[in-house]
Amino acid sequence: MSDTRRDVILNTIGFGLLIVCFAVALGRIAWLRAARASAQDGQPVVTLRIGHWQLESGLREAFDAIGREFERLNPGVRVEQIPVPERIFPNWLITQLVGGTAPDLIALGYGLTEERLARFFLPISDLADRPNPWNAGTDLEGVPLRETFLDGMDGGYFPALLEFYGVPLAVHTIRMYYNLDLLREITGEEKLPATFAELLELAKKAEDFSRRTGRPVIPIAGSKYNSPILMGRLFVSQTEGLGERLAYDFLANRPSQTFIAEGLAAGLWSVDSAEVRAGLSLLRAAGRHMQAGFMQLMRDDAMFYFVQGKALMITTGSWDVKSVTTQVPFRLGVGRIPYPLPGEPLAPYSLGPIADPSNLASSAFGLTRSSKHPELAKSLLLFLASRRGNQIFADHSEWPPSVLGVKPSKLAEPFAPFLQGRLGGFGLDFSGPDARREVNIAINRLVSPQGSVEAFLDALRPGYLSAVRADFQRLSRSSVSAAQRFDTTMGALAWMVGKDERGAAAAARKLEELLQTQNGADYFSRRVAQALQALEEAR
């Protein structure tokens, strides 16, 4: 057979196969459509879509379970989820929103500015003030939606827009995760440390164990994501008293940035203050037990050490609990981070136990304006926010629930917010990203074996004040802009109140909230300008 003839036969076979595949695909689509239509007695199926970036274990199962339950309760409705990787979520989101093809419900957070929220999402403040119909038959029946959340639904409120836009699904907290099998090997028991001194003692035992056995064991797996969580809270355990002395409104407005900045400019405190040095000593004590160069590592690197059994402890949030549990070949222990208590060595300025920094619910979902079925989408959103929906979510995701009366799963129990403590003081990065960058650049001089508090301060001192000043220049611009932005809204609402009978009540409520918010924002912007002037004069 000649080469030409063989080529013709092969091409014909290939083309024929392509035609067959296309015909089969076309037939399957037609069959599925017919099957769906007949399943609903000829009624078309309505599809609702949920978009999110939460790819942790259990999350897709949770949304699937909620979808199936909602479908069961609403024949003719299909619920689909679109999980999108975190890194590409912002780009995907804006493409979908601008193109008018966005899912009905979307996780709020990444890639959303307030302007985008106002433009592409529907406010749900009217729903927040009404009972959730999906709570009928429970003790939450008749209770306004916002009051059915542990945090009063604050996690779904956007102060700059004066509206609720989301229903939050979980209340996340940070804890210390332990490899219990390794803990038993090292200490002969499974007792989690209760004090900071015990934590350091355990870390030392892990290092001794590693030396003795030749088995590499990192006491605490660190990264530029995990470590600042632990170190930031350790540091503020020493600066609360200082903060209270600098700012008369410290409890109310922590970290009371303007007073702290003015105090810095006036020499009332500095990076050499005793409280700052005490906080840095705690950081060094903890950081010495993390792997070398941890601030250059990513979150996944630290997690890899832990799940591979090469690290005894890691600090992370409740969002990781199911992923970690399903990945690790050992028994997992979870406990509150033992921050230093008054009287502990290295912590002379501790005023009391340190609480979780917030009880705000997060992982909120909002309703897009482009939804083709807004009433059904609203119903699905309310189902997510109901006791039944949140229970399904909590059971499958193992995340701590956000709705009153929902039982956390066994795994989520240790993550219940701890509020029997203080919030602590302020960090060296109180002013913003420039100060944070200066601290991060110098941090290796604090936590490396040959490092020290002195070496860290020698590196930090030269650029710290100018970094705080740069942060305040940015803060001054943004705070003025925020206060100005409210003026147009205020004027529009003032005009609408009493004129638009359809929206007068809503406009009056928004105006009342706005007047309070705007007055505070205006005052704050002037305080920031004053603090900036003090920082400029302190050159």
Partner: protein
């Protein structure tokens, strides 16, 4: 509340587009609102011009050219109307805002004079009553010596008599309390202002909590035990799950027992 001139409710129900621009402006959609006011020639001329002035204040990019145009629109509306037409006072109020907070260089003296005059109109509008708070801020952040600021704050205390709306009163008292604290004024008077603000009620619990915490601490610091107890208790009763609750309970427990009758509401 503003008594509003313009189309009746029946007219509006036939013309729902009459509110499109206002709804967009109220939702931070400034560009859309501005274009709607430009496009919608069914709106009364002065209302439309007021809308253009308001939106030009925050149209991005915020240029001095746009701000000057905003000022022209607002000045024209103010000149073409008279009190008690609510447009008159609103246009003057936002013109004053432009003068003190937007245009370069700011003209604090002109804004101050305008705010004083607006308060004398006694409009009964909570927005116009914010002029009293702005006068306090202009005084506190004027850069004048403390004794001059305190003298000015004394004068401004009298503006309270011109205010009638709960929001106007609450913001006046709150701003005055912080002004006294920030300028080393009387802590006792600051506590009195916090109490007066609290009597007006709050729309946002987050703002209320901040006030109760600060007011409680200031009252405790000068030995006004019952007032401190009142503020701390308010905070705890309204927001028992707030992360500050532990500290508030500690501070409440640390207050000495009462020796005199409560002076708080």
């Amino acid at each position: 509340m503003l008594a509003v001139a313009g189309p009746t409710a029946a007219e509006l129900s036939q013309k729902p587009e009459a509110f499109a621009g206002w709804e967009q402006a109220a939702s931070l959609l400034v560009r859309e609102a501005y274009e709607e006011f430009l496009r919608n020639d069914t709106l009364p001329t002065l209302e439309r011009e007021f809308g253009l002035g308001l939106t030009l204040m925050n149209l991005q990019p915020r240029t001095q050219h746009n701000l000057r145009r905003a000022r022209e629109h607002l000045e024209h509306v103010a000149a073409q109307t008279e009190a008690p037409d609510p447009l008159h006072a609103l246009a003057r109020f936002f013109r004053a805002r432009l003068l003190e907070f937007y245009l370069l260089p700011p003209d604090a003296a002109a804004a101050e004079a305008e705010y004083e005059a607006l308060l004398e109109l006694r409009t009964g509008s909570p927005v116009i009553e914010m002029a009293a708070s702005r006068l306090i801020m202009l005084a506190v952040f004027s850069g004048a010596p403390p004794e001059r600021i305190h003298q000015r704050l004394e004068e401004l205390e009298k503006k309270r008599g011109l205010l009638v709306t709960p929001a106007g009163l609450r913001e006046f008292h709150t701003t005055m309390a912080y002004a006294l604290l920030d300028t080393g004024g009387s802590r006792g008077r600051a506590v009195d202002h916090f109490l007066a603000a609290d009597r007006q009620g709050f729309a946002r619990m987050a703002s209320a909590l901040r006030l109760w915490c600060t007011a409680g601490d200031i009252a405790a610091s000068i030995g006004r035990v019952e007032d401190a107890r009142y503020f701390y208790t308010q905070a705890l009763e309204n927001l028992p799950r707030d992360p500050r609750a532990f500290t508030l309970r500690e501070r409440l427990a640390a207050l000495p027992p009462s020796l005199s009758p409560a002076s708080s509401p």
